[in-house]
């Protein structure tokens, strides 16, 4: 009903008036664009600061891992236990006899068990940079070592593919739960960035101020500013009818109170309110663990605890809706294989990602494992890279979203081999 209402009173009305708000302009111009798959949603979660992949997806079957990290390594799984609670756990949660999850990731173990979770190891940017700034830039632009790229790869996806045939044009096709549009969504296709759903409103007091403001944008002028303004008022109304303050998560889900948890909750709200969300983005910091990062407990364990609980809550809340959703986590690079002199880890090279979703071929750790012996390390110090992040991005875009424009999304890149992540 809400969708119909919007189409009737909003988008179509604008078209008939000859207006051209940005999200329609794009669609109208791109009538021959390949269409997205109906109802599919991709949620990208960025761990800013370079998460320590070796302590996230733990290679407990690797002897060198324990030699390199005498004080911070995650102990081998406790004998005879598959599932370990997050409190009091001291060993990795075994996945396949070689890899295990950090004990704080226990909330994700059920997703593994039910085949929804696929970790990828030794994945990342082929660029040699160890600068957070550059590496985040590359991961978001999707063009390693090319700094001139002005748009992000998610935006290039949006700009070069249409919404699905039955889907109404919507201002909420791409939403970042961030204060500003992140690099990954910058570009010509419209994307909305917001701190929270309830901030996406005209923040006026009582009286007729809001109505008058709307009136100013409905004076019949047909230019970009009036059109975008009308689109915005429709979007605010559309969101209002989804009634964010009354949202009740399903399946008894209790989201963490953290900013990250609350942002994921709002992404679930957007999905369930059927406002046409296709791409969602959120980020979370605190991964730059140069000092005392801890092992099974401590600093990194705390970050992972919130991370895992938030993602598990999102998956639980979406329930069967996960059939249409893929959650993809990423971080700009991994950290040094060897612990440093401060009980932490310095900037490294390859990292790890999680892919979670109903159509994911889970219960398998993806990526060729390069090993941690001295001669196997990148530049003698870091986990080597065996999977280019663009292989992962391409595969998810094409298999999940139906993208056929991979050449435009990742110029100059041809994926070496399919990982087979998705059904």
């Amino acid at each position: 009903m809400r969708r119909r209402y919007f189409v009737k009173s909003g988008a179509v009305a604008l078209v008939t008036m000859g207006l051209s708000p940005s999200f329609l302009r794009r669609t109208a111009m791109g009538m021959d664009l390949p269409l997205a798959q109906k109802g599919k949603v991709l949620i990208c979660l960025f761990q800013r600061g370079a998460a320590d992949a070796l302590n996230v997806v733990v290679p407990h079957g690797e002897r060198a891992y324990y030699q390199l990290r005498p004080n911070i390594a995650i102990p081998q799984p406790l004998r005879g236990t598959g599932a370990v609670g997050s409190t009091g756990a001291t060993g990795a949660i075994d996945l396949d006899g070689f890899f295990g999850l950090h004990p704080s990731l226990a909330p994700l173990k059920p997703l593994w068990d039910s085949g929804l979770l696929a970790p990828i190891h030794a994945v990342g940017s082929p660029s040699a940079t160890r600068s957070h700034f550059d590496a985040q830039d590359y991961m978001e632009s999707g063009t390693p070592d090319a700094k001139g790229t002005s748009d992000g790869w998610l935006n290039r996806y949006l700009a070069t593919s249409g919404t699905c045939e039955q889907c109404a044009p919507t201002p909420f096709r791409a939403v970042a739960m961030t204060p500003q549009t992140p690099r990954i969504l910058e570009g010509t296709a419209p994307a909305v960035a917001m701190n929270s759903l309830d901030e996406f409103a005209v923040r006026s007091g009582g009286g007729d101020q809001t109505a008058r403001l709307e009136a100013l944008y409905r004076t019949g002028s047909a230019d970009l500013i009036h059109g975008t303004g009308q689109e915005m008022f429709e979007a605010v109304k559309m969101l209002r009818s989804a009634n964010p303050t009354q949202y009740q998560p399903q399946n008894g889900t209790d989201y963490p109170k953290s900013q990250f948890g609350q942002r994921l909750k709002q992404i679930a709200q957007l999905i369930k309110s059927k406002v046409g969300l296709e791409i969602a983005f959120a980020d979370v910091g605190g991964w730059d663990t140069h000092v005392n990062q801890g092992g099974a407990t401590g600093q990194l364990a705390q970050r992972l605890d919130d991370f895992a609980k938030s993602i598990a809550a999102l998956a639980n809340d979406l329930g069967e809706g996960m059939e249409n959703v893929v959650i993809l986590t990423m971080s700009e690079f991994g950290r040094m294989a060897r612990q440093n002199g401060n009980g932490g880890t310095d900037h490294g090279h390859a990292g790890a990602m999680f892919v979670i979703g109903g159509s994911v071929h889970g219960k398998k750790v993806y990526g060729k494992w390069p090993g941690l012996e001295p001669e196997q390390l990148y530049e003698g110090r870091d986990l080597a890279l065996t999977t280019d992040f663009r292989s992962v991005f391409s595969e998810i875009a094409s298999k999940h979203l139906g993208a056929t424009n991979l050449g435009a999304m990742f110029p100059g890149f041809t994926s070496a081999a399919r990982l087979g992540l998705l059904a």
Partner: protein, 589 residues
Amino acid sequence: MQRPIRIVAAAAMASLTACGGSPAAQVEPAPRMTAAPQDQAPAESGSREQTADEQVNHLLSRLTFGARAGDAEAVRAMGVDKWIDLQLHPERIGDSKSDQYFATLESYNTSSQELQRKYPPPNQLLQRLQAKGDRSKLSAADSAELREATAGPRKVTIEAQSGRIDRALLSERQLQEVMTDFWLNHFSVYIQKGPPERYQLAQYESTVIRPNSLGKFRVLLEAVAKSPAMLFYLDNWESQADSNRPRLVPLPGAGRGGAGRNGRGGLLTPQQQQQLARRRGGLNENYGRELLELHTLGVDGGYTQQDVINVARALTGWTFPRPQLGGGAFEFNPQMHDAGAKVVLGHRLAAGRGIEDGEDVLDIVSRHPSTAKYIAFKLARRFVSDTPPAELVERAAATFRRTDGDIRAVVRTIITSKEFFSRAAYRSKVKSPFEVVVSALRALGAQPDGTLRTAQTIATLGEPIYGHQAPNGWPETGDQWMNTGSILNRINFGVAIAAGRIPGVSPVNWKGAESLQNAPIEQQVDGVVGALLGGGVSPDTRAILITGKNPFLASAAALDTMPEMARPPTRGLALIVGLAIGSPEFQRR
């Protein structure tokens, strides 16, 4: 489809008093009024499509950050062409109010090095505290220590970011400020590149960019190339000869003794070896690439990957003392410089030379015809329209070539052209977030408030100052600034001004508002329209501002105030001011 725009309230402007924009020459002897200097092409005043009033509004919206009370009268009194000429010569405009204010800001009167020494980044403390876990675990003493340690760097950030706003707010040399903004965006740097960057920004703005903003492009380009802000941002400070290239001066330890030995044949300590490894780094193409792609020739300007490499090689050794240890001024380091022969854009640079390599490259790229065209295009797009007429761009590029890159002359060609004063150009540009906020503050006579809050408002609108991560800078065209999120934030900015939530500015007490306080609503609306919108709004907009009624609105479902956000309603003059700032018309310049 666009409805004709009607001048509603020009008369209301007459009651506004003249501004403080004293045109008296303070710095230079009286300008030569007889012989026209090279950069003074005759103004094409006869062929202008805009009316006299429109020309005044147009100048104030394009050559300044927005009209203050009395500015329109001052321009009218001086005459449009004379005013343009004066703004093209900022050195002839007294600017004591701005100078006095900036004399009180430490960052603008202290070297970057001294600033970093005095207010060091609290890296070690942060690492130590981070190791304790999340913030809730910090003791009161920890928190106090953290507050103290971050107060200094924070002050540096405040002064760099709000300094941009305050100068745009206060300066009488408005065209120079617009050009400063243009070049800071053209030569964009990023405050979060790393801890050392923030200490460079005030000096970058005030000693590298502004003094050269209307000067020779070649001089500006070299000032930027040598600035620690750019050297650090685009990594040139650590770019050096690859290991297979000859260095102008060999590294110690690389000579007869071979690797691992110092110049006297002795073994190096592990620390020295580490230092050597770092110093052996290699070529970093980052600046070389952006110099060609973004700063001079443009992406399709006709250079190859080999040119990028050779430009980078020519600029090896252009560095400054290690930034993490406090930095310092530009220096050329012959031990880092690749002394091999190079070919750049067809010009041969002989082997065995030093800093001249880089200087020659700057000569070559600044005189390349693609550079003239690219800079001319960007300036025409900034001043005239998102799609500037090709003929105008070509004339501006010809001026660039003829004057060897005299920016003042190029800008003059553009802002005195018939295209600049065309009907199509009038109000055709969309304001950037910076322009939205600063133009509102100027219209309402705001004063600098010494905090980050205004800068944060601009960031919320989508343009954090020194916050563009990629080196291509903020968008210069309207379509990129307009989307649902951004227009909502702009409207909410108007709402916040009306509610008195923006520091340093009142919606009811501003120069010109005195006579409006108790006036009939029509007069209030015309006064606000005059002050904020240059007098020109459609009849519909004026009607909505007066009555709140609009036939188009009846068909749209009403949007109620969300209960949790209910605040006392804004009424009267404040309401009109808020509506005007949130209006579609205010988003244009």
